[in-house]
């Protein structure tokens, strides 16, 4: 079965400068055969939602290690909904304590990948969940 390539937008919202993980995930997704756009650091939620729309991404991935995941993910969620991107796969990774993972899933981030996750898990999750 030949399929079109899965398109991923990987973004770093907020002021957090930890981008080792994000860049590692970008390379893993490229190796998996996905098409990836990486935004770089310091993206506003507005810029991320716009980029998700503009790149027609199947997957919107956020990477946040500063602990600001809840306020940032809420804001990005609102804007993704405003742009009609409710049907895309939203995922988030970073230093996310156990208690916050359920909150993020309830917000609509179906994949939550705390520090220590394997890149393989992320790739498999995307393959299985992109419609």
């Amino acid at each position: 079965m030949s399929e079109r390539k899965i398109k991923v937008l990987l973004a770093k919202p907020g002021l957090d400068g930890h981008d080792v993980g994000a860049k590692v995930v970008v390379q893993a997704l490229l190796d998996a055969g996905f098409e990836v756009t990486y935004t770089g650091l310091r993206q506003t939620p507005e810029a991320i939602a716009k980029a998700a729309k503009a790149t027609n991404a199947d997957v919107v991935g956020l990477s946040i290690l500063s602990g600001t995941h809840l306020p940032l993910c809420r804001r990005v969620r609102d804007l993704l909904l405003d742009h009609g991107l409710h049907d895309k796969l939203w995922i988030v990774g970073g230093n996310i304590p156990e208690n916050d993972r359920m909150v993020l899933r309830q917000l609509g981030y179906r994949g939550v990948f705390p520090t220590g996750s394997r890149t393989e898990e992320i790739v498999t999750f995307i393959r299985e969940n992109v419609k």
Binding site: K5, G17, V24, Q27, E35, S66
Partner: protein
Amino acid sequence: MTITPTRQSEGGPRQSKPRASTESVSRVVNESGIEIKPLYTAQDVLATGSLDTSSPGEPPFTRGIHPLMYRHRPWTMRQYTGFANAADTNQRFKYLIANGQTGLNVAFDLATQCGYDSDAPEAMGEVGRVGMAVDTLRDFEIAFDGIDLDAITVSLTINGAAAILIAMYLAMAEKRGYDLARLRGTAQNDILKEFIGRGTWVFPVDPSVKLVADTIEYCAQVAPKYSPVSVCGYHIRESGAMPAEEMAYAFCIAKAYADTALARGLDIDDFAGRLSFNFNVFGNLFEQVAKFRAGRRLWAKIILEQYGAKQPASGWMRMIAGGGGFGLTIEQPENNIMRGAYYALIAALGGAQTMALCCYDEAYTIPTPKAQRISLRTMQLLIEEMGLTDTVDPLGGSYYVETLTNQMEQKIVEVMQWVDTRGGIVKAVADGIIQKRVSEYAYQRQRALETGALRKVGVNCYTESEEENPNVELHPYDELGAMEQIDSLRRVKAERDNDGVEQALSALRADAAAGRNVMPALMQAVKSYASVGEMTKALVEVYGRFKEPTQLWRMVA
């Protein structure tokens, strides 16, 4: 003939494969790419260079920058600390000092680090989260209240907004009656590495380097005992670089700052002795110790021979060595206490002037007071119980360590030459080449961890069959404290002389536009209680903002 599996461990082999050999041992290659033999003799030292017979305190300082090293005074203990607001951080500072800490290492929140005020939209959710929030001089007055700045030296972990916060620190000290000509302290202020890892840049690369030169020049004239720059291989290593690269990139960066300062007409001896370094300690013990010994020797040669410095102290590679965050794991966090002990041992055997350790819970949270105390006690144990301060450079003369020191020096030189072929470090960073290379190493490492080729205790070997909930207490984020910080900023703005602030900011803009040293104008602005956000904005109007070269990652497989 026996072939056994390749031995692989962290900081160990990167690309080694088992090979046939007459001996029944596997091949071992360290992270910097040097093959490790099962046994070293005097022949190996001579085959890789010569036996370094220089004494500590004498160029090229291989064995240490001081003749007596820790016998004279143990390393300074300086745990990285800061959270919420100035008042809370001041309390934690005093707790650490009461527990025997001998220096301070200040963590700022991301808004401060990126030059935003606490009430800026960009600061949403970040005020006081990963460090102390600082908006105006008022915050510094509170943070250091009751702390003797002669007895306890302060290191500011600040980069993008470094010129502003250095001015703030000097102004605070001056106001409290300290003589700037004698004031000691350090600012991280290494912006080039922020473009490679850590990411708290503000301005484009060229004006960013210009600002570093401004601080070097100003301090050479006004605060000659203050260390305006601590060049960080540390974060480049955290971002994925191997140890030889960590040191090579740091030296390239330090040379770039020195060149800019020299171009201003400063003499190398005016400032080289106040440049300091920050290096990482995770990985193979012997490789790190050799890295520090080789680095000291090479830096002395660079400054004394290439740059022609006259004063031996100009060639000192003074360093804080510690941290090791990249080596710590979120799995089985208690193991990080043991890792921290070995990392401290590495720093002590490596001849560090200052030491800081990541706390065992730091992968999860702002460390608890108890976790910080354990790190502090780890360093104190080495001093009080383990004999690490008894004699200088205890590994000196070991065939293995001397050979490895020679080899690491060669590796560092090779990487520095590679950077030169790419047009020098400033261009290579602006082009994103270093970022790309370091990131590729990080990816290789992650893959090796996932395949099990790189062994990491608790992560891919000796794992717990059932995932335990880690026994780590999470530091709560204080939303109320963030609102109080914003209120406090508003109060300062209401109370200050706003015409004076406007004048100071205009003068700052004018000096920046004319290409003058902005430090005198920043001192004025800080003293008028202009905010970090206002001063940054004035400079952005002239310099612009950095645009990250992300096209390197915007790729289709």
